[in-house]
Symmetry: D2
Subunit: 442 residues, 4 copies
């Protein structure tokens, strides 16, 4: 198709819109104006392609300049909006309401739709939004552009348009390479690590969008186990168990990674997990449990600020406080760790982690971001696992504790409902035991 | 994937939302409410699938009832809209504008987006709109639903999401069968006719959408010729010319058919034609001319109402008037045809057809619908062809005259621009001759 | 790849082996000599392609001339063979044996292998053999060429190289068109008939060879039924039963057609049936019976020659004799049929058909060709069905009787073994009843 | 399909041929006997699959035992052969000749064909031959088995059945992984190295066989360059040149690797090179030169044995002799290398390398194996490149010299012919200069 794009470029050159050295003779603003005008219709994707080419070469200053243009030139026409309100208020017909709706929609939305006509248009818009999200903190007035992009991308990346794809060692290398780059939870150490994660006792699934066939949107890595998995290091390092396909009873979702920053806020993960549960149930009827092995990213942070929850109770609470001090100092916490372990502090840590997940709140929501995601999604707290992640990062953020969120499809909807309406957190018995052990003893 | 859908159904059954005999225990309204609520999130595509199943089984009464529901229950909340206007007027911030925009959007748009999550959701919405368009004449108040659906489908069927596919005799039979059913211009008479239209001296291209892989959206049939084609019967009946691939200099677009009534108003044809021109240029570099061989659907109708344009000028004008009388009577115009032909009336008919295409207007637009489409699209009038379509239908609607619209890619944009801004109709010299012959002699 | 073939042709032209008008400058004999020589190695597939092009344009005289060439010029060198025998007899080493083996192989085998290097080479050789089989009756001395071709094709069309493909309404039209042409048992009446045979209650499977991807080799049509099917007209005409996929307990193989005459004698059918039984068992676990509904092509012929088996026993035997007379005369047997039906002759016909299948022999083999195929294949006689095929052809060859051969995978091997070693014919109880009814009453 | 294979196994178990623990109840000999007997026909691929499973688990002793079985039990029946000779000699008909041919073919050939019916059968036979080639040196009497296998594989891996596949970074990872393992000329150092070799200025092509879709048979790596490449290190290390696709005029074949030891002696490489030349010509019309950059594996070995060709001519010849001594000693030749370089020995080395390639013979053939391959293939000697391969291996085997063999398609056939009939070596002018410089000065 690239020769077809080339033909479009020749056309624009013949119109004097692109200069002969391949650079655009028209400014980006002029191109966008033409794209939005009825000319956009006539030259099909040619102008859009030129805008896309320009966007691809943006440095961050040019990006910001484009965002400002989108606010200033392609925002809502306030005069026209005032008139549409008048018309509606004087006679509130369906037509007047529709006109009012149109008057509240910034023209940049149509501009985005036309940019999307070009090859690579969708990816370009996703990338623009990724850039935009970076600029947003310093320039909150760009928020209205973000809001429009998010609305559009949300509609285009509707679940009905996504394609679930199983990833394995037969997947094309250029896709696998991207998975390695996008893995956000437990970094992959090269191709050998990747290959192990795609072996016979593992599964991997990704969502793709037809307009971005070479770009995974989100992917989840699954381990087939006997019983609940409690240590991510064990999962990542253990030898391949070829018999797992027939003997495993549990599927552990041990890593979920978003791949496109530009799709932030577009729901993908909740669909992915439930769809994958259904796929696995069908393909591996022996599976009876579905759960995550998830990090608890906010635990240490919260403990630092809420040390009062660590009631003084002897050697292990002292050891824990010493460890938190060491972590806060940023020094080597090695000795402090040793002291905690020797003082049998695991139970204390377990109780505190369970307490944190169940009781620490921001407003009425769980404080922990991962907890919010899975609980809102309809999962239940299954159990916390001391020494679940003994990596430096794992110990620094959560004292090495991980947690299983359990997905029971027949409870997902009521869990979700109770969570959303009553802020109720679903729990399995095993978790309650850990939590109550907590209550009883503290 | 069907077993996955089945699993979703089992879920709903376990929640008591579907009864055990497979019928829905909840009403459609209740299902839609739940789909729109946050539960929609939790149960993913399961509720949406159930709504889709219900829609598929609608008779036209149920369809209309659903449309009324969409107006009454899922329309704009006018109270909330009034408040949003107040807020905006009291302080017209970007946030207030965004809130106003949301308040003007009917909740049914979100409902449609959620229905789309289900397998077959997109097709279901397209089919719903096809039904809606039928009901609209009698029930104009449904127009606001149509407007929402059209907006959404326009966004989803953006050019960037469409896939151009070459159709030939190796295409799966179930697709070919649909092309036969959808052919709207020159009906196909069974598989032998289809096969001839897919032979080596023909081309066929269709747009598909990834969410409806088994349904062509629009397709165009092309004949590879030496010189401009002037008779559609010759095109359809002539023997296959295997050498056309190397020797043809002209590509004739002799049939363009929309396949999905529910996509009415969503631009597809203009993209298709230009894209196909680019594809053909690349694959067959010998081609130097691209043109249609198009019907003139409004010619006879217009002549009946504007007989004064036929200035009395002897036998052939009398013969033509007699023919129009015979056509108006609905009787057998055979004798009248013979008389016209014997009186050498072809030139008169040619002139009148050119006159009609160039001068007959509705407002400032060409009266003829096909002319409006191609001229707006950037084509130019090339020549009218007396005896271009000698079928009963062709003679009844246009006295058998057809017309070539010429597509020159390097003129498409200026033609379009001149047409849109100044109502200027682009013409080739050959057409001007036919038209002036007209002027001169009348 | 065609441009690659073209490049090869340019090469030969530059060598003066093809003349500039595309015709070969060298004779076929010269081309074959070069192809067999070491030059064949150097120019890769170019010479082979030229030979293939020539073969495709053969008329039957040129074909026969080529066959004579293959006998005369590329047969065994008898002088060299005599010497190889001498060497072997004087010292029977492994090397001498190998040399003797080579000396007994005609050089045309290597010629065939080299022709096969060209695109379309395999199909060309298959077609050549189809031609050869036609010439063989008149020219038995070509038998040695046939023997070589059959050996080679048998090796190349080894089961391990065949690909089983499910055929349905999504299959490319050019393949479906060929199935219609190749159907040899119950002729298909156009696309509507084909479509019905590919509906949800039917299955169709074909073997393909990777070197001939557009050509089915053999295909079988299957009906999913409740209980044994007894009438082919019912199968072909009945309305589609969409529930058959879940409710059917029996798979009826009602048509098996070889597609390539040139593969005569290469075992395909026996593999196909058993493989399809395995596929169906896996996909449709409700199926518990697998059987054919087969013609009895030799029944009437045999009855005409063995009228004594029809013991005089009243009206129905007289009616049958009259019917056979009418069939022999070639006149309209309508009245005779009516008489037989009115005389309740069905039981008599059933008994005679069972007797024929079980007792009529050629040597120790069943006389009926279809019976020989299925019984050798390991099937058992299940039951004969009077009025199984009421077409003109069916009545003329077998008085309308058809027969079910039952395939039980766990008995296939012992049935086959008993058939091959002891000429034992496997039967189901139902058949024995029909046969013994026969014995008892006659 | 694996469930289908499983069904076949169930069948054999029900016959008592496999024991319930999955181990075979019958010996391999018994299984082979049954496979060769008519039972093989009845149970289709089931027995063959069992034999294949057994072969896959062979250790080398079991392998050898199987080979002995193939000699002893499935060799030619010498008694029957003697009789066939008698019959033929008493009456040398075509039928007697055919019978004699059959009598000279060992039954193991038919056994191999039947093993091939099983899934993985072809690969199993290829692997068996790889094993056999290892055993052959110690057990020459197995040669007759090898001869049969080679004959069969030669017929099955006929050029007409091979599929040329372009390999790039979109190729499935499990295939790429195999390429890395099979690369025999310039070892790949992990995925980064592989990725560089598949970048936009490189090409890679492989032959596959349809019965072994996951196994490359042979592959060639190509660099797109401006001008002839003279250093393999530069090729392997240089930065990607994205413009090479449009600007390169030369395609350098810098590595050709066989992947299947079991296909030794089956011609693949000569077809591959010429086919790839044709493909490249079509896709990249700017290419005007096609050549290899090849090792000279035998140079140092030959110099060691033919030191007299190094006529004493001062410092550089002494330095070279010293270097050869150092290499022969197996010590570190670093100092000797330095001395040679400082003495400007490159010209001497160049002359000697050219001399070796052109004049060093084994019988009438070039002594160097790589030279034999390309020259027989129709290539010409283009030039030798001192410092073409500065790796340890390259210096040890050829003093770091590499050579370009030039492929001109229009000369390939005459070059080949002259080489085969007259032992004539084709040369380009550039090479002759290097060689004559040689002659003149030595």
């Amino acid at each position: 198709m690239s020769s077809v794009t080339a033909a479009g470029r020749d056309l624009l050159r013949s119109r004097g819109w692109i200069s002969s050295d391949g650079k655009t003779a028209l400014t980006l603003e002029q191109l966008c104006d033409r794209l939005l005008s009825s000319r956009g219709e006539a030259l099909g994707t040619a102008i859009a392609s030129t805008v896309v080419e320009r966007c691809k070469e943006f440095d961050s200053n040019q990006c910001d300049a484009f965002f400002e243009l989108l606010v200033a030139r392609y925002g809502v026409d306030q005069q026209a909006l005032a008139e549409a309100i008048d018309t509606y208020q004087s006679r509130p017909t369906a037509a007047a309401r529709a006109a009012l709706n149109r008057a509240t929609e910034a023209p940049r939305q149509e501009l985005f739709r036309r940019i999307n006509m070009a090859p690579d248009g969708t990816q370009t818009l996703v990338n623009l939004r990724a850039q935009l999200l970076q600029s947003l903190a310093a320039k909150p007035h760009l928020g209205e552009v973000d809001s429009d992009l998010r609305h559009l991308l949300g509609s285009w990346f509707n679940r009905g348009f996504l394609q679930l794809t199983a990833i394995d060692w037969r997947t094309p290398a250029h896709i696998l390479e991207k998975l390695m780059a996008y893995e956000a939870v437990h970094a992959m150490h090269g191709w050998a690590d990747l290959r192990r994660r795609l072996a016979g006792d593992r599964r991997c699934f990704a969502f793709f969008h037809p307009a971005m066939p070479d770009e995974p949107l989100i992917f989840v890595q699954v381990a087939l186990c006997r019983g609940m998995a409690t240590s991510v290091q064990k999962l990542l390092e253990e030898a391949v168990d070829e018999s797992a396909q027939s003997s495993a009873d549990t599927a552990i979702f041990y890593s979920i990674s978003d791949c496109q920053r530009g799709l932030k806020g577009v729901s993908l993960g909740n669909f992915l997990i439930k769809q994958v549960v259904l796929e696995l149930q069908r393909d591996l009827p022996n599976l009876s449990q579905f759960a995550t092995l998830s990090p608890i990213p906010g635990l240490v942070n919260w403990l630092q600020k809420n040390r009062e929850v660590i009631e003084p109770s002897g050697e292990h609470s002292e050891a824990l406080v010493a460890l938190l001090d060491a972590l806060a100092d940023g020094g080597d916490p090695g000795a402090a760790w040793q002291r905690l372990e020797q003082s049998n502090g695991q139970q204390l840590v377990e109780r505190l982690a369970a307490h944190y997940l169940y009781r620490a709140k921001r407003g009425q929501q769980p404080l922990d971001a991962v907890a919010r995601f899975h609980l809102r999604n309809g999962a239940a707290l299954e159990q916390v696992n001391v020494s679940g992640d003994t990596s430096v990062k794992g110990r620094a953020q959560s004292l090495g504790v991980m947690v299983n969120y359990r997905y029971r499809l027949d409870a997902v909807e009521s869990n979700h409902e109770a969570f959303v309406s009553d802020h109720h957190i679903a729990t399995e018995k095993s978790f309650i035991k850990q939590l109550e052990g907590n209550k009883r003893r503290q």
